[in-house]
């Protein structure tokens, strides 16, 4: 896995591999990881009249009561088709019941104001029955640019824990467990949070324009303390993945980083001044995506564009299973 390193101050960039990460980080720096495991968020389902549909879970509601998820509804079709080319699904008004995998039932409780294809589903199953059913019927969200379909083990980071993510928080792929141990051995601290990375594409113009949708996160007290320690010692806080940026900056919206759960609604772009995060390890994202917009909060477009042009010319791979970009001083 290759690593492009970019200085946000000078615009200078250099080529390397992720094995060089320890050389880019200093004793006292803090690396913050997203430990979300990736769910099999794509579920085969049938509408009220038996119509074939696909549900892609977008995010779980963090509320008491029966488990509820927001989901994007797709018409019939396979993973080889680009989401924007899929036929429209049938309308699913509030109160409609749908069946997932033949035995899991859910009721449409609300429609999003963004698009009626984004629906709030309440499952007729308690947690003990729901989670095994989701794993039994679901499979990972697939990417039409890949040659083979992804299995569930292909979309997990090395340090995944609770299944909150709908697509893989893919920047974590660079950090294998031996590499994490090596970083620790060099005095780099590690901290984690859980951020429910949502869908990267919905095939619905109104929804795609609103991405990322609100995503829940949880920042542990230990991570708040680790950030404070790094700051006090002059270390840098480096986020592994844009989801970590979104969680940390959302949790610090009133000026102070706070532990606990929340819903990230921040849209981070070139006009945003990060309060917590100093540097970012991420994938190589195309101009025009919300990921690319987020990068502009860390480096000016005048520096990002030549660096990414170089990456494209030098054959770096983009997307979820591609190479890595480190933006740090």
């Amino acid at each position: 896995m290759r690593l492009l390193s970019l200085s946000p101050r000078t615009g200078a960039f250099s080529d390397g591999t992720v094995a060089d990460l320890p050389q880019h980080l200093r004793r006292g720096d803090l690396l913050v990881l997203n430990d979300a495991a990736t769910l099999p968020a794509s579920l085969p389902a049938r509408g009220p009249d038996g119509q074939e549909i696909e549900l892609r879970l977008a995010g779980q509601e963090d509320a008491p009561g029966p488990p509820s998820f927001w989901a994007v509804v797709f018409g019939p079709g396979g993973w080889r088709e680009r989401t924007e080319d899929r036929p429209a699904p049938p309308a699913l008004p509030v109160g409609t019941w749908i069946t997932i995998g033949g035995d899991l039932r859910a009721e449409v409780r609300a429609l999003s104001s963004l698009s009626p294809r984004l629906v709030l589903l309440r499952f007729a199953a308690a947690d003990d029955a729901l989670w095994p059913a989701l794993y039994r019927h679901g499979r990972p969200v697939q990417y039409s640019y890949l040659r083979e379909p992804l299995a569930l083990w292909d979309v997990q980071t090395p340090f995944h824990a609770r299944p909150w993510a709908m697509e893989m928080p893919s920047a974590g792929r660079a950090l294998t467990l031996p590499r994490l141990e090596e970083l620790r051995g060099r005095g780099v601290s590690l901290a984690w949070l859980t951020h429910a990375a949502g869908l990267s594409s919905t095939g619905d113009a109104a929804l795609d324009a609103a991405l990322p949708l609100p995503e829940r996160y949880e920042v542990p007290e230990a991570t708040v303390e680790a950030v404070a320690r790094a700051r006090a010692a002059g270390g840098r806080v480096v986020a592994v993945g844009t989801t970590v940026v979104r969680a940390l900056e959302s949790a610090a919206q009133d000026g102070r980083l706070r532990a606990g759960r929340g819903l990230a609604t921040l849209r981070i772009d070139g006009g945003f001044r990060p309060r917590v995060v100093d540097g970012l390890l991420t994938g190589l994202h195309e101009d025009g995506t919300s990921h690319f917009e987020l990068l502009k909060a860390f480096a000016p477009a005048a520096f990002l564009e030549p660096a990414l042009r170089h990456a494209a010319e030098a054959g770096y791979l983009g997307h979820e299973f591609g190479d890595a970009l480190l933006i740090h001083e």
Partner: protein, 244 residues
């Protein structure tokens, strides 16, 4: 490891040592996930723990199936949070009655290795990341003296347990500085259905009750920081440290 409030996964938990270990762990205040192939026994274990005021969840899984491992780990983490400990207890003897290696089909040896060796390997890989991040965690593999003594007729099972012991030793070396501890535990002969399958002729009166063995196994987990990581512990020779 202090067990109250910890998230612990026990495989092969529908009967015998696994079921009793799940009960004892829940009695210590652990939040327990019991994994086994689906059966009335599995449901009954979890229901009896809940009736006693403990926290337990049943997750149906075949540890010999690669496709079951990520769903098991994900479901467990969804129900009780990132796991602090796992007891790899599920295992299979292979075809019965036990037979000489010369009479063992390649496929039967492979099937035993899938459950007894690859199952714990895959599941440990799944659970290790958050343990390494948190700099703590306990991986316990239930082994057998058949892994050290070459008993005739125990070829497939014995080979799988010898390999499991070595897997745990190497893992302990590689995880040396991480704070994650790894143990192989030989529980000795017990009065279980598995023992009866292997040796239907053997008198049961001389065998330990799995409940008593589970109590010692859980005591070992509580005292895991007094045992070198990577050790193969013969449970009935292990002395629990004296509590001050």
């Amino acid at each position: 490891m202090e067990l109250a409030g910890r998230a612990v996964l026990v495989t092969g938990g529908s009967r015998g040592l696994g079921a009793e270990t799940a009960r004892v762990l829940a009695g210590r205040g652990a939040r327990v996930v019991v994994a086994a192939r689906p059966s009335a026994d599995l449901t009954a274990v979890v229901e009896s723990i809940r009736r006693g005021g403990g926290t337990a969840h049943a997750v149906a899984a075949d540890l010999g199936r690669k496709e079951d491992i990520v769903p098991l780990a994900g479901t467990a983490a969804a129900l009780v949070g990132p796991l602090d400990a796992v007891v790899h207890n599920a295992s299979t003897l292979g075809p019965l009655p036990l037979r000489a290696l010369a009479d063992t089909a390649c496929e039967d040896l492979a099937a035993v290795l899938e459950v007894n060796l690859l199952g714990p390997f895959r599941l440990t890989k799944e659970l290790l990341g958050p343990m390494v991040l948190r700099q703590g965690g306990l991986v316990v593999a239930v082994t057998s003296d058949a892994g050290t003594v070459p008993y005739e007729g125990w070829g497939a099972y014995g080979v799988s347990k010898a390999a499991l012991d070595h897997l745990m030793r190497i893992w302990a070396q590689e995880l040396g500085a991480s704070g994650v501890r790894v143990l192989s535990v030989d529980p000795g002969e017990m009065d279980t259905a598995m023992h009866a399958q292997a040796m239907p002729e053997a008198p049961r009166s001389a065998l330990a009750h799995p409940r008593d063995v589970a109590l010692r196994l859980v005591a070992l987990m509580e005292a895991a920081d007094t045992v070198p990581s990577g050790a193969r512990v013969v449970l009935d020779q292990w002395q629990a440290p004296v509590l001050r």
